[in-house]
């Protein structure tokens, strides 16, 4: 069997006495889309924070392309090819849209202080090329963003903030993109538009793998092939959405919660 692109084994983290993520095994192939669902506070975002190196695992391993990246600092994991968005989008609000996306290319560009100071031509060329590519990426994700590329990111409405975050994540040429509740804070129409945009970017880059945390069932049904259900930090089910949704344990943990939510 081929080595999976991303593989977690026994991944766990404890905060004091609380086990937030417990012995989670995940496996993701190149080009695949995996959706993680589960009730609020189940540990989904914590799982993302573990994979992206923001939290340090208590035990378990993470492998990317067969390489052990467990415990690496966040910036090295980003450079290794795992990009992400945040549940409450974390843009660089006082910078322009282009700036935001160019920052996303940080680990694909090289200029250091010495280059910037003593080889201005080279640094400038790289910088302008990055800006050029940033423009293309913005246009790919949404032409509306491209039009506004020189305005400040802090002024964007919620749906566009999410799109810009996705553009920024794409900018690092990642192998995997992790989207943390891309539809949170958006109405149905915006969510539909977002699904379209995500589909478009998926078609554009077939090799790219996605892990998506989602609450919106329409998005879950529309996009991913495979679903993992997390509850109380543990993986309780895995499979295609149409099968998983029928499992009693899942309905109890998640859909019951959903009904109560509505």
């Amino acid at each position: 069997m081929a080595v999976p692109l991303l593989e977690t084994r026994n991944l766990s983290i404890r905060f004091g006495g609380l086990v937030a993520v417990s012995r989670v095994d995940l496996s993701l192939a190149a080009g695949e889309t995996l959706c993680i669902i589960g009730p609020n506070g189940a540990g989904k975002s914590t799982l993302f924070n573990l994979i992206s190196g923001i939290y340090r695992q208590s035990s378990g391993t993470v492998r990317l392309d067969g390489r052990d990246i467990t415990g690496w600092p966040a910036h090295r994991i980003a450079a290794a090819g795992i990009a992400r968005t945040f549940q409450s989008s974390r843009l660089f609000g006082d910078l322009t849209l282009v700036d935001n996306v160019v920052i996303g290319m940080h680990c694909r560009t090289r200029t250091g202080v010495i280059d910037a100071l003593l080889r201005p031509r080279r640094a400038r060329a790289e910088f302008e090329a990055a800006a050029e590519r940033a423009g293309e990426l913005l246009r790919l994700v949404s032409p509306g963003l491209y039009e506004r590329r020189h305005t400040l990111a802090g002024t964007l409405p919620q749906a566009d903030r999410r799109r810009l975050e996705i553009a920024r994540a794409l900018a690092s040429d990642p192998k995997i993109i992790m989207l943390d509740e891309p539809s949170s804070g958006m109405d149905d129409r915006d969510t539909d538009a977002l699904i379209e945009d995500i589909r478009l970017t998926m078609a554009e880059r077939p090799g790219l793998a996605y892990i998506i945390i989602e609450h919106d069932m329409r998005l879950v049904a529309a996009l991913p092939e495979r679903v993992v259900v997390i509850d109380y930090g543990e993986k309780i089910a895995e499979g295609h959405f149409s099968e998983v949704r029928l499992m009693p344990r899942v309905q109890e943990a998640y859909l019951g919660q959903k009904a109560a939510h509505a």
């Binding site: 975002s45 924070n49 923001i54 945040f86």
Partner: protein
């Protein structure tokens, strides 16, 4: 025990008490308002000047003989006055930086400190020169082989008393509860009918008045006071509050004892201790913060993702 050791232990406690009175203000203000009031040291050092002025006025007019009574009255007046100056400083300047980045408030209060120093220098006659400041209590008691100044015991006792009162006020009185509520969550406190503006004023009064006691002791301990003593007093009080963990009153006391400890130790053991005391005190600050980035008793900053 050796007289020398006992002497230095006493010095340590006196110095630690004085620093703690100032550090508590920093910690209280940071805990409640999330603001660094960098002019706190300068405001505190206004107190000895008020005392000198009041004593002179009293001796010249009302009761020429009753020196001790005049001094006591002057101290009380000074503490209240400095408390009000703190409230005024907040009302005029600091409250305008409630929602600004921390650096803005820091720089603004540094400038405010200069204003306070310059006003002292100009208002007080020949304000640029150092002024002799009396020991609040002159007598000594014999403790074994060691003659102990009553003043030292008085400083320690008053500091411990003030700390106890402060703890009790914060923990058991309605005012303390309101202060803690505002510190915890300003918006919710407002919903509960607490007016944060009043709480801020109260906090500034308490912090500045306690600082004033520290300022009085500082001047009295040194036997002299000058308009710019507040810089050093403020820096040391601030450092003590920070290495203890900002917002934690126990931390402020612990930090003060640490800094006073290294201060006393260096002066007692090194030949040129007096000139190197600040070097070691601030090296200690750096070392503590490298090892404990949010202070000894501070809550570690855990960012929500």
């Amino acid at each position: 025990m050796d007289v020398f050791v006992m002497q230095n232990l006493l010095n340590w406690l006196v110095l630690g008490s004085i620093y703690a009175l100032v550090a508590l203000g920093f910690s209280l203000l940071f805990g409640v308002l999330n603001v660094i009031h960098f002019s706190h040291g300068d405001v505190s050092i206004v107190a000895p000047f008020v005392v000198l002025a009041v004593v002179q006025a009293l001796l010249a007019s009302v009761f020429p003989a009753a020196t001790l009574g005049a001094l006591a009255l002057a101290c009380v007046l000074a503490i209240v006055a400095v408390g009000l100056i703190g409230v005024l400083a907040d009302w005029l300047v600091i409250r305008r930086f409630r929602n600004a980045p921390a650096m803005m408030a820091l720089v603004a209060t540094v400038a405010l400190g200069t204003v306070v120093r310059e006003v002292i220098r100009m208002v007080y006659p020949q304000g640029s020169n150092p002024k002799p400041f009396p020991r609040l209590i002159e007598s000594r008691v014999q403790l074994g082989d060691l003659p102990v100044p009553v003043f030292s015991l008085f400083v320690i006792a008053v500091s411990v008393l003030m700390m106890t009162v402060l703890f009790a006020v914060m923990r058991y009185t309605p005012l303390g509860m309101r202060i803690r509520a505002v510190a915890e969550d300003r918006a919710t406190a407002r919903l509960m009918g607490i007016r944060p503006g009043h709480i801020f004023a109260a906090t500034f009064f308490i912090a500045s008045a306690v600082g004033a006691i520290g300022g009085l002791f500082f001047a009295s301990y040194a036997g002299v006071v000058r308009f710019d003593f507040g810089i050093q007093l403020g820096l040391i009080g601030f450092s003590a509050a920070v290495i203890g963990g900002l917002g934690s009153m126990q931390g402020a006391i612990l930090g003060s004892l640490l800094i006073a400890g290294i201060d006393t130790l260096v002066q007692a053991t090194m030949a040129e201790g007096a000139s190197y005391r600040l070097v070691f005190a601030f090296l200690l600050v750096i070392v503590v913060l490298v090892l404990k980035p949010s202070g000894i008793l501070g809550r570690p900053i855990m960012e929500k993702v």
